[in-house]
């Protein structure tokens, strides 16, 4: 009955590789997000999709590309991985754009680039 799930939980890879992180929510929400948490625990939004449409795209390198095949899924693909991409990536979802609506977070994916 997991609300927001991410796979994989851990990802260790070499510089220059391409990798994907998958996110799925079973809450029926129409908005999904990707956040990056750096080594100092600072959380920053990267992308957001509402009904499969990109609505937030922060200053993120072009190597990062989100893909939303349907409302319940938002995957993150990263090309040409760099050392600085090492972080924990969190997926989240919410219902609509009402500011009162809580975002539900997944358990995170710890990406380590060697």
């Amino acid at each position: 009955d997991t609300a927001v799930s991410q796979t994989p939980k851990y990802l260790v890879t070499q510089m220059g590789n391409d990798k994907s992180i998958k996110c799925e929510q079973n809450l029926g929400h129409d908005t999904m997000y990707w956040y990056k948490q750096d080594s100092k625990k600072f959380l920053k939004i990267m992308f957001s999709y509402n009904n499969k449409e990109l609505i937030i795209n922060e200053t993120v390198p072009n190597r990062f590309s989100p893909k939303s095949p349907d409302k319940a899924h938002l995957n993150l693909h990263i090309n040409s991985l760099e050392l600085g991409d090492s972080a924990v990536y969190f997926c989240a979802s919410s219902q609509g754009g009402d500011r009162a609506n809580e975002q539900f977070f997944g358990p995170g994916t710890r990406l380590t680039v060697l």
Partner: protein, 113 residues
Amino acid sequence: AQSVTQLDSHVSVSEGTPVLLRCNYSSSYSPSLFWYVQHPNKGLQLLLKYTSAATLVKGINGFEAEFKKSETSFHLTKPSAHMSDAAEYFCVVTSSGTYKYIFGTGTRLKVLA
């Protein structure tokens, strides 16, 4: 523009004593404010939220927060700390018409036996 400042990066309390985690915000519009908790190697869990209703908000696990517009603050309190409260706490601000959460830099709470 919105921003949020968590005034303490680390807070240590003894078990059974009160907890105070401080948060100040800046927002051009009526804000919504949240407190999330992150236990080690876990995701974020909502503790409580303020959305322009009652200014004193009660959350889970005995936590509460008071929205003070005049002080632009939303401090998190708990009367008696428990060992299981040791975690990272994040204050978040957002406002009407935006999907964006703006996170504070976090406060690590340590509870001493």
